[in-house]
């Protein structure tokens, strides 16, 4: 640790000197010239460079397959003639690693799926650690350029207040989920004779109560866990909707007023509801201490009735099944209808280039390939002939091949491509799915459509940038606020604190700067709206 600090000091001073030189305005250009003398970066077509170059890449690793052994990345190296050297960190501790990288002065050439927050983009962009990408997009990224031209709102949400673009986004217009949906265990519904899903919080309560008392898994023991969660993060947004709240922290209501959720009355109602579930043992009592694996173990033991995951079968085990319906957002008596959060469709911070990168043009061409059909296909589904093949190359129709060695298709896909479980730079192009949509996929899409989209789901708060001062204040405020709010949420729900203290809680949150949160985000929203 201390050893690193020492090294960091040397590097930091070096960076300082480099920064001074950059002030003279020559060194940057020089670096670029040197790069161009060695290799020619093709403006279009493959390979991208005439002589192989090597770049370092940092990304979060889900730990299923070593990236250098992934077929997709090997194929990409062949096609582009750019060799990526991976310097990844485990997904769970990636944020820590990311911070250390930025403060160490030793940057990778590119950040892939690093989930750079708007704050980080602006902060490190302003410091010059991340380079502005708009000129590179103009000249070296035909695919990205086209996307931004066709969707001006995407350009708007990825442009920092200083007018620069520091990162490329994940673009998934077809993805409606703000958080993974919740799913009912279909067997339990059947066992209790439900042919209609609960529509109100009261009906939901009754259902969960019956799960607890009527032994739907028929093992003779009351071992059912009606509602399970890990730290509430996975289910919070879905239940807040019943009380007219779109999101767990900041949302804007239909009359353009921004709210800070933890002090809203609807939030209190949500806490009261969950407290009731907790008291009657309907909400998993290990919610605050269990891991996702422990939750899954219970579900696979056929104990859990309602839970959150990408698909139900991933928690329940077994094959994809259309018998486990998606949670239908419920409403409370306080509102006319449940509100539903919809994904922003655009997530910034998926790809960025650092100032130490000697080949920014080649790097941009490399990532741009992923925003075109061929590259997106490769990164999404793996190379042709492994999990899929063309049935008709002209119309781009494909079919799935059997999974080599049997097993789950998604699990196998995770060994081929890095785009699994991380916010990787990509775009959802409809042609990718041609011929590959299974009956199950269609069913899931239909569930989303009828239960979420048709019910008026919308984006809680647009993707936007705060100014540097606003960002600094929010960072300072949230470090204590978030801890306090989460802690009190747990206490109210488990009954460690009573609702008599609600006023006191609100006063404390306000004192800690809760009112500033809604003010800051309101100002930013108003600016965004006008621009």
């Amino acid at each position: 640790m201390q050893n690193k600090k020492k090294g960091a000091a040397v590097l930091l001073s070096a960076a300082l000197v480099a920064g001074l030189l950059a002030g003279c305005g020559t060194s940057n250009d020089k670096a670029k010239e040197e790069a161009e003398v060695e290799v020619v970066v093709a403006k279009e077509g493959l390979p991208i460079v005439n002589e192989q170059i090597s770049l370092t890449l940092t990304a979060p690793d889900v730990g299923i397959q070593n990236w250098k052994d992934m077929d997709v990345l090997k194929e990409m190296e062949k096609r582009t003639n750019i060799k990526m050297v991976f310097n990844n960190a485990p997904k769970e501790s990636f944020d820590t690693k990311k911070n250390l990288i930025f403060s160490s002065g030793e940057y990778p050439d590119v950040f892939y799926a690093a989930g750079l927050t708007p704050a980080e983009q602006m902060n490190y962009g302003e410091q010059g650690i991340l380079i502005p990408l708009e000129d590179l997009i103009e000249n070296y990224a035909p695919n990205v350029k086209k996307v931004l031209e066709d969707n001006p709102e995407v350009r708007k949400s990825i442009t920092a207040p200083d007018g620069h673009i520091y990162s490329l986004p994940v673009i998934e217009f077809n993805q409606p989920w703000y958080r993974n949906p919740m799913w009912y265990n279909g067997d339990f519904l059947k066992a209790l004779g439900y042919d209609k899903l609960p529509e109100t919080t009261e009906e939901l309560y009754t259902y969960l109560k019956r799960v607890k008392e009527e032994d739907p898994n028929k093992n003779g023991a009351a071992d059912e866990v009606p509602l399970s969660s890990v730290n509430l993060r996975d289910i919070r947004t879905w239940l807040l909707g019943a009380y007219g709240i779109y999101e767990e922290e900041i949302y804007v209501d239909d009359s353009d007023v921004v709210h800070y959720t933890p002090v809203e009355d609807g939030y209190k109602e949500y806490l009261i509801f969950l407290n009731r579930l907790w008291t009657e043992d309907l909400l998993d009592h290990e919610t605050f201490s269990q891991t996702a694996e422990q939750k899954k173990a219970k579900a696979q033991n056929n104990q859990v009735a309602l839970f959150s995951d990408w698909n139900a079968y991933m928690t329940l085990g077994g094959e994809p099944s259309m018998d486990d319906p998606m949670f239908l957002p419920v409403k409370s008596e306080k509102v006319d209808k449940a509100v539903i959060a919809k994904s922003k469709g655009v997530t910034t911070g998926a790809f960025a280039i650092s100032k130490t990168n000697a080949y920014p043009e080649a790097s941009m061409r490399w990532v741009d390939y992923i925003y075109g059909y061929e590259g997106a296909m490769l990164f999404n589904k793996g190379p042709e002939g492994v999990l899929w093949e063309y049935t008709d190359r002209d119309s781009l129709t494909k079919k799935y091949l059997p999974v080599p060695g049997g097993g789950d298709r998604e699990d196998y896909r995770a060994t081929l491509t890095p785009n699994y479980g991380i916010p990787a730079p990509t775009i959802s192009i409809p042609e990718i799915q041609l011929g590959l949509t299974t009956e199950f996929d269609e069913w899931v899409m239909n569930e989303s459509k009828t239960k979420l989209l048709d019910k008026g789901s919308r984006i809680p708060y647009p993707t936007l940038f705060l100014t540097a001062e606003e960002q600094a204040e929010v960072t300072t405020l949230t470090s204590d606020l978030t801890t306090y709010v989460r802690q009190m949420e747990a206490k109210f729900i488990t009954g460690a604190d009573t609702f008599d203290n609600w006023e006191k809680y609100v006063a404390t949150v306000t004192k800690m700067g809760g009112d500033r949160m809604s003010e800051i985000y309101q100002a930013a929203y108003d600016r965004w709206k006008q621009s």
Partner: protein, 317 residues
């Protein structure tokens, strides 16, 4: 009896002859032996201290430690005014004292007991068994604690239930957190802690025992009046060193056992530093908090050392 331990801790006085350089030249071999340790401390412990200045600055990575702008005591003020300041201080102190009160005397008692067992198979196996937990890594250790205490499947919980005891929520109840932390620490480290005392006990002069037996002293009396006084200097030194760490509760184990329900009693200064520094990248603020922690530790060390010096004539310096 005391003199023996004292002698071992004091270097013999140097004969004053000539200047310091001349003395060093005469004993150059000794200084050569010292050099690696000196270099190690200079490079790895004193060198990086220049970084402390970011506690008084607004550290911006690209400007570097020296280039960042001075802000004075702003970060300290923010910490002292923080909602969590008193909670953090109380938790850190109470966990440390709890740990000290329970974890410090047990190895001494165990070592005295080991010393009474004559060498043999029983002694060796008991020693090995008590040392073993020390070699379990923190991550595995906390994994074990969490699964043993899990309300749905935990071994210990099931055991208590079988005895008809309604088991408390060990990991969710703030009232239990400190106990879980300290007791598991005792289980892990007591055996290991005996080693240094056993070494000290080997210095007991057998003649004293023989004489005491002649005078008809019982086993317990001999332990109390011969063995214990022999290791008193060791005990004092270790106690001083331990109090120097009073705010230095290791963060790994606490962080791994922490959840939003027990946070009230489990959030300590070091986990707070981790959260603000490494997770939310507020380096200057977390350095300020860390510096505060170190200063309190240093003050504690000096105070306890002074007390020890006055009362027992044994001290670090």
């Amino acid at each position: 009896m005391n003199s023996k331990g004292q002698q071992a801790l004091r270097t013999p006085p140097l004969r004053a002859s000539g200047g310091i350089v001349k003395r060093m030249m005469q004993n150059w071999e000794l200084y050569l032996f010292m050099l690696p340790a000196f270099v190690y401390f200079a490079v790895f412990h004193y060198g990086p201290m220049y970084g402390i200045q970011i506690a008084f600055k607004n550290f911006i990575p690209s400007k570097g430690v020296f280039g960042s702008e001075w802000v004075g005591f702003q970060h300290f003020e923010r910490f002292f005014n923080s909602h969590y300041f008193w909670d953090l201080l109380w938790n850190t102190l109470s966990i440390s004292f709890y740990e000290l009160a329970l974890g410090f005397p047990l190895p001494i008692i165990l070592a005295l007991a080991f010393n009474e067992i004559s060498n043999g198979y029983f002694k060796k196996s008991v020693q090995t068994i008590t040392y073993a937990p020390h070699f379990i890594s923190i991550v595995v250790m906390t994994g074990m604690i969490i699964s043993f205490l899990s309300p749905s499947s935990g071994m210990l919980i099931r055991g208590l239930e079988a005895l008809g005891i309604d088991a408390p929520q060990f990991l969710n109840d703030p009232a239990w957190f400190k106990t879980v932390y300290v007791i598991s620490g005792v289980w892990q480290n007591t055996g290991w802690g005996t080693i240094i005392y056993l070494a000290a006990l080997s210095a007991v002069d057998p003649q004293q025992h023989e004489a005491a037996i002649m005078d008809g002293a019982s086993r317990f009396k001999r332990m109390l009046h011969i063995n214990l006084p022999t290791i008193i200097p060791t005990i004092t030194i270790l106690l001083i060193l331990n109090t120097g760490n009073i705010l230095g509760v290791g963060y790994e184990k606490i962080l791994l056992l922490q959840n939003s329900l027990n946070l009230e009693s489990s959030d300590v200064i070091s986990t707070f530093v981790y959260r603000t520094g490494l997770v939310s990248a507020q380096y200057s603020f977390s350095t300020a908090v860390g510096l505060f922690n170190s200063i309190v530790n240093a003050l504690m060390l000096i105070t306890v050392n002074q007390i020890a010096k006055r009362t027992s004539a044994t001290s670090l310096w």
